[in-house]
Symmetry: D3
Subunit: 233 residues, 6 copies
Amino acid sequence: MNVNTPMNTLGIVKRSIVRADKAAVEKLARFGVATIHEAMGRIGLMKSHMRPIYAGARACGTAVTVLMQPGDNWMLHVVAEQIRPGDLVVAAVTSDCTDGYFGDLLATSFAARGAKGLVIDAGVRDVKDLTAMRFPVFSKAISAKGTVKATLGSVNVPIVCAGAFVNPGDAVIADDDGVVVVPAEFAQRAADAAEAREANEGDKRTKLASGVLGLDLYKMREPLEKAGLKYVD
Amino acid sequence: MNVNTPMNTLGIVKRSIVRADKAAVEKLARFGVATIHEAMGRIGLMKSHMRPIYAGARACGTAVTVLMQPGDNWMLHVVAEQIRPGDLVVAAVTSDCTDGYFGDLLATSFAARGAKGLVIDAGVRDVKDLTAMRFPVFSKAISAKGTVKATLGSVNVPIVCAGAFVNPGDAVIADDDGVVVVPAEFAQRAADAAEAREANEGDKRTKLASGVLGLDLYKMREPLEKAGLKYVD
Amino acid sequence: MNVNTPMNTLGIVKRSIVRADKAAVEKLARFGVATIHEAMGRIGLMKSHMRPIYAGARACGTAVTVLMQPGDNWMLHVVAEQIRPGDLVVAAVTSDCTDGYFGDLLATSFAARGAKGLVIDAGVRDVKDLTAMRFPVFSKAISAKGTVKATLGSVNVPIVCAGAFVNPGDAVIADDDGVVVVPAEFAQRAADAAEAREANEGDKRTKLASGVLGLDLYKMREPLEKAGLKYVD
Amino acid sequence: MNVNTPMNTLGIVKRSIVRADKAAVEKLARFGVATIHEAMGRIGLMKSHMRPIYAGARACGTAVTVLMQPGDNWMLHVVAEQIRPGDLVVAAVTSDCTDGYFGDLLATSFAARGAKGLVIDAGVRDVKDLTAMRFPVFSKAISAKGTVKATLGSVNVPIVCAGAFVNPGDAVIADDDGVVVVPAEFAQRAADAAEAREANEGDKRTKLASGVLGLDLYKMREPLEKAGLKYVD
Amino acid sequence: MNVNTPMNTLGIVKRSIVRADKAAVEKLARFGVATIHEAMGRIGLMKSHMRPIYAGARACGTAVTVLMQPGDNWMLHVVAEQIRPGDLVVAAVTSDCTDGYFGDLLATSFAARGAKGLVIDAGVRDVKDLTAMRFPVFSKAISAKGTVKATLGSVNVPIVCAGAFVNPGDAVIADDDGVVVVPAEFAQRAADAAEAREANEGDKRTKLASGVLGLDLYKMREPLEKAGLKYVD
Amino acid sequence: MNVNTPMNTLGIVKRSIVRADKAAVEKLARFGVATIHEAMGRIGLMKSHMRPIYAGARACGTAVTVLMQPGDNWMLHVVAEQIRPGDLVVAAVTSDCTDGYFGDLLATSFAARGAKGLVIDAGVRDVKDLTAMRFPVFSKAISAKGTVKATLGSVNVPIVCAGAFVNPGDAVIADDDGVVVVPAEFAQRAADAAEAREANEGDKRTKLASGVLGLDLYKMREPLEKAGLKYVD
């Protein structure tokens, strides 16, 4: 460790980040969060309080991250400049806060920079306008409460957002089922695994629709009996 | 008590249950949860955290019950075999869990068996697909988080689901207002009482719409005065 | 203080209240909650658990207030008589309760009296009917659980509703972003301030849409540097 | 079913109940809640929001049950008369409520009747006095908020309390770890099973204290390897 | 209304406030929160999430109020100067926040100014030191998370704290059961009413301890029967 | 990236980890969590729901980490073998769970291995015994609910615990104010910074105790005036 390495990562904007492979991210965009989460081995999911602001919202992009103070959205203006087309902004706060950090003006700016959406473990507002714009936002809360611009946070540092660890450049996929983080280095493998998993599901769906039981399809009767399951009348 | 009666009801599947009368359940299906709950004497309602996964979801059926472990949906495959047309699966977990126990594959299987829907005091996923299928689900959470298949629970034992006691075979009705449980033996009387109550409401609605006050319609002025209500300017 | 002034404000209905200026309230109705809240200096917002029962619900009116006991909606019938066209009922409970205090019959009565909607820090039911009526309701919960009519509360006394202080006659505006209270005496100034604020936003939106950054539009680069923000690669 | 069986169980006081065997309950009183819960097969535990009002509180008795309305403690006076020495009052509310249903006067009365304590899924008050009396209370909340006496509930009907099903007469044990319900018919077997379990623990404790690993004591190495556990450096 | 009256009350320190009568506050200090709350007619109680940081904490004083921003405790330094001996600081935040706004240094300063304690609807830290100092604090949370000093709030304006409305100068009493606010003008009458209530309780306690039932002491048997209560065997 | 790097980190036990410098950790043990958190630049704090199971509990050690499934504590037996004297076990679950993962037997085993305590974002039980042992535990909940041993997690992989990122080997300090994580590489600098901060506090405390105001001690009057603070009478 260099003695000059900052112990405190607040007050920093990292400009150059390694983004997940573009083609891999585009491939990930074809799959649902549940499928990708399974394909990843059930790692990287945010907590279930993260909800879309409108039904059917969906986003996939490379993370530019931002860490903010409670009640202070100053860094959302700073992060805007770091957005490249295809990025998704992932925002966390240093302690729990439901204030409305983000509204239609910032959404206009983010969209102009090519952002794919916003994932924020805090509140947002102007949801009617955001919905009309079809700008996908996943948040913890909806609140008209505004924020100040007074204290520094950081941009493009590793963050914990809604219980998930996010590195700048990671692929992040969000839909009605939640938000999942795919480390940049695994984007291609996760996309391939999701594809394989989905291919496999079509056949299962057909069989189940025809009345075949999961008990038989997945050969569960024997392990259930071994575990001691008793049928009684 | 027979000394061999199991103290522990985990690991059991009861195959033969007494279902509420079919005609009574069909009659109950015509009424809203609030009406039935009132007609029942305000008994049997689940807690208000049970919400439909899409607006307008609605279900009514006879309960097949399932008790599961946190993070483990193995018994949902076991319960599928016990579903008969007209049944509604009612699922509880031995401790609070928001994991996604149920998705589009299980829904396909349940639907193929004739299930009317699912009431689950836990999380579900694939909500976009479930909505497209119009398979009604009432749950505590939405989460992409998958579950394992490792530990036994039970099927068709009495359970507590979201604060309500449910016996297999009970009639269960769910809509935008919540979920109510009608003991099988009272299904007909509850349906009749709901019908009487609803008949009574049409007249009240007309009077209230014409400007008559509830104070007068329900003759509340005297009891309010007796209770000590004071009007001041 | 007169020794006869009641220490306890329960059991009182105040009939004559000073309502916010009608034209000012009509002007306020043109603006969103977030805009008005900002224009007010970020004062008067209810907590973010207050949500519309259907997407797009929106209401603006002068408050008639009602304070109730847990599980008891008797005073909603009392308040109905005090509603004048243009009023919005604002209801609080003396302790946290999610019971369904309000349904389609009361909505019919309130609408017949000219009410603009209901803001209630408790639960409501019959949401399908309320939605069909387009009667805007903002509440903490949805619950089929009925309430009794046994204990007095008060009408048109000052109340705390969802963390905000409300005097009868205040202007209250509610939309997808939340609920804000404007003291009657400030209704005109708040409406004017909201108008000025909104006029100002159009120009900002155009610039942000063209790619201008908030960093430059709001001249944030210098204060950020002064605060110590560091850019690294 | 008799057509006269009440569908609604509100407004009833059952005087004669079958209490769990006295000797069995006394034996249960020797064991902790965690031990009994394990011995029962992990059934019958209340939710973890039930906490003692003072550290070290502990109670064991036969349940007299009471169901109340939100904000209304009338039935606590009714239940007092049904208490016999060795009973424990178990109280539930028809919807979530944190009001202070119980204080030092009721505790004085319950204690005079021979009650072993109170388990209540609501709030209590006068905790300083209750602590001084060493009257064990397990509750969801502490609140000075008083309640009214206006609406009927029931005494000695089956209830759901904090997620657990309780029949009058069941053995209920509460300590720092939570509250567990043992059906009356299983009291003796549960006590015996708890005794066996505890006997078994002393030896394990000695081995673990000497440095033996649970991995070896419980022979977990092979099943872990089979499950796929990998050790890396 | 004067056109210059500020619509926004942020950024203001009111130096001269009317404090509740000193003797009345001293008399109130002799009674518990539950007793005073009852004596007041069940008005003015804060929500039950307000808890003492150590068992047995107790405080009574005249409120100096402070309104702060999330994550920002600047105004606690401003309020310190306004404290007079016998005051109690009552602090609210403009949106929910659990950060540690207050610790041992501020407590040292407050104590030096003669403060009786702190009631804060947010978090505090250094609880070991605060406990050692026996400086009574009632808060929503305990958190080591520090706060910034960047944005103005107000001192000695009316606030809503934990759901209760507080005017500067009001009497505030806090103990294990919660926190109650007595408007300054009613301090004497509330103290007298509390005294009367408590006098009355001693006799009741004796009777209940001797085995007299509340049913008889409060003459409840007749109203219960009228309400329809049925005794069954 | 090596194509063989595991995408999924479940099912792994890392045996060799780099622990924070022993002397640095010992020095950190002298300071409170609030002080260290400040000294670190307000980074690394767990959420405030993490509470000690007994007042005054305190622990400091090097993290051995464990990731588990909901309702499954198998890996706590696996982690025991990896504990070295001076370590603190830090445990997270893949989704929210309050089950009792840990009790007196595991505590006996951990203590025999030299563990300094346990930090777990889940529930624990046997709190009376743990308190008697003075084995410091910081948890989200207390619950008698047992767990199964059926599904793999991991040991000594990076985890997110209660919102904080923890690498195996990091220094973790826990006391009444919460739990803070110090990256291993910064342990010495954090200890030094904490020492400097604390040295600085003694002088401040003396001044504040003598009645000097923070307004003057911290020279806040000018910045407050600049920010627009107004004093009125």
